[in-house]
């Protein structure tokens, strides 16, 4: 009897938890290292004999204090939140409409248009920032966070379109056809039938779009100059690296706090995220 009970536990330990350990280590190590470094004293940080993964000489919160008092870190965080939320919202609206059209409507060139959308996503931002800087200047948005709100959808819209296109194709066409037979318009079929069913896919797109916006570097670097307009990615590296001097403690403190919003949204929406990613994996 005892053997029968122990088997599921052993299966869990050896079949689930142990295989997950290397992945957990791989995923969490950077956070652990950032956290440890952010609480180390300068003397220990500069001591090559010290063990880099442990704090031996006591915890120091000065790096966090410096981050908040010596730099406009909260302003950068606010800017990152505003830019990421707005560009995600804009991209989601445009991407949803485009994805629905490409997945559902029959028109000439729909397939090639879908491929073109994907190819657009593949053009690297390191090539696009130069022509886009002309667009930003023509719009009079240079050196403001609105330059980013306008330019981030250039890579987010193709991405969300492609992702949602795949999701919409997994939703049976019949359910919206039923609604339309009952008198719903195409718009009503989309908003009342398809979108509620597509919530996991949409949340998945939101998560990805938000994360990409949050981490974006090259556009934020080239379109923004003023400290009060910078996002976290640019602000932290501009103010906490001075030539060949790296303020490691504060840098890591900035990295830890900068990762918090992303961690939070993934924690809250993990289930949706997983089901959004695995849509279509099972035949219904």
């Amino acid at each position: 009897m005892a053997t029968v009970q122990r088997r599921p536990v052993l299966t869990k330990v050896f079949g689930v938890y142990l295989p997950a350990v290397p992945f957990l280590f791989f995923a969490l190590f950077p956070f652990y290292f950032m956290l440890v470094t952010s609480f180390k004293k300068d003397a220990e940080l500069y001591d090559l004999k010290a063990v880099p993964f442990l704090i031996r000489t006591g915890i120091e919160t000065e790096h966090y204090a410096k981050l908040f008092t010596g730099s406009p870190f909260l302003v950068w965080m606010r800017n990152s939140v505003v830019v990421s939320l707005l560009s995600t919202a804009v991209s989601l609206v445009l991407g949803t409409l485009a994805a629905y059209a490409l997945a559902r409507l029959r028109f000439r060139g729909a397939d090639s248009f879908g491929v073109a959308v994907f190819v657009t996503y593949l053009v690297p931002p390191t090539l696009l920032f130069l022509p886009l800087s002309q667009v930003v200047n023509a719009l009079g948005l240079a050196d403001s966070i609105w330059a980013l709100v306008v330019t981030y959808p250039t890579f987010l819209v193709p991405f969300t379109t492609w992702l949602l296109m795949g999701y919409f194709r997994t939703i049976p066409r019949e359910i919206e056809e039923c609604a339309m037979v009952d008198g719903a318009t195409r718009w009503q079929a989309l908003t009342r039938i398809v979108l509620p069913v597509a919530i996991p896919g949409i949340i998945c797109a939101i998560l990805f779009a938000f994360t990409i916006s949050w981490n974006e570097f090259i556009y934020a670097l080239t379109f923004i100059s003023s400290t009060d307009q910078k996002t976290t990615t640019i602000g932290v590296t501009a103010d906490l690296i001075r030539g060949d001097i790296y303020y490691w403690g504060s840098l890591m403190a900035g990295a830890v706090l900068g990762a918090v919003p992303i961690v939070l949204i993934y924690v809250f929406f993990m289930d949706y995220y997983v089901s959004g990613l695995t849509a279509g994996a099972l035949k219904s």
């Binding site: 800087s133 719009l139 009079g140």
Partner: protein, 441 residues
Amino acid sequence: MDARQTDHTSGILHTPINRRALLRTGGRTLAGIAGIVAAGRAPAGWAARELSLLTAVNYAPSSDVKLDELGKRFSKQAGVNVRIDHLQSVQMPAKLSAQLMGKAGHDIISLEMHYPWLYRTGLVDVSDICSDLAKKHGEWYSFAKEHAYVNGQWLGIPYLFISFPGSHRIDLFEKVGEKAPDTWEDLLRAGRKLKKLGHPVGFAISQTTDSVTTLYSILWCYGAKDVAEDGKTIAISSKETEAAIDYVKVLYTDAMDPAVLSWDNASNNQWLNSGRGSWIHNPISHYVVAKEKKLPVVEHTGFHPSPAGPGGRHTVGVPRSLAIWKFAKNVEVAREFLRWFFEPAQYHEWIMSGDNYNHPMWRDMETHPVWDVDPKYKPLKAIAQYSHLYGWPAPPDERIQVITNSYIIPNMFARVVTNTSSPKDAIRWAEGEIKRVFEKK
């Protein structure tokens, strides 16, 4: 056919509103209003007079603080709103390229090395200011002039240079019976003993600008060069280059920390300040930090001239200048600011603020008090006399900057010290890469 129609009675030009025009105008207006609301300030163009500066983050933080302070003072005096932004020096090329491409950006920008050559099409001629400054201070150091004097015009006003002396641990060198190395051979001899003692010597052999600087210095000291004086002949393939490579290979094997292959620009600072390293080739930033953080190595750290070799004593001087974009909104105000900044009172105040990390650019300032802010800086005084731009003795050229940014020189050395290539093969590879850069023009 032009869609616009003129009302002949009033002379007003009417543009029929079509869907595209409406979308364009509406989009701009919405984006503009949204931008103003979010930024909480009017666009730069609306301000009465605004001057914007973009400089690379100064390695001596107090210098940037002083520059901001001077900007505020100029604001009060001239009734101009001065805004100063700072960016990592490695991020400057992307920013400058975007500004040049978009023909909009800051009024004044700081440029280093061959950037005045790279961005010459967008820069204002400031020869008038430079000739006035030359009357006051005499000539700039030759490498400073080569950096900003482009095709007969001054396109930037050199305002600082960063030097690369040798930095050593006085106590450790004494312990092995050695003095500060005067030549690269001295360094090898001392380095062998120091490595046995557990305190090797080191400089980056990796894709960093520090590595480019040190390895150019060694090449020159052994009589080698990558491009000849005519600026056309690729001269990297020589016995002198082989001798320099042989030297670095022996030094790496016998006296250096193998970690140098993975170093970034910060690693050597950290390494010396940690107490493990005994010698590096670097600007004095590590010492500035050690003083600021009160690290124990401060009292044991010393400086000496960049080592010499059979070909003489040479190293890299990294000059920076202030330049004005042609498309700047306030070219005249920018000129006004630069004239004011370089007046002795302001310039003296600014140069003194950086603990001599920023060296003055004129020969007549070799007696400037900034050289005496710390008695340890004495060997730095004459360093400009044997400092050169990357690519020396070839004349300055934007293609040299491309060679630098492609890290061809460090990669050539890295191939040999890691036994990936023989010296001859590595040189052949570098020659091919340099040729490719030169053929692109």
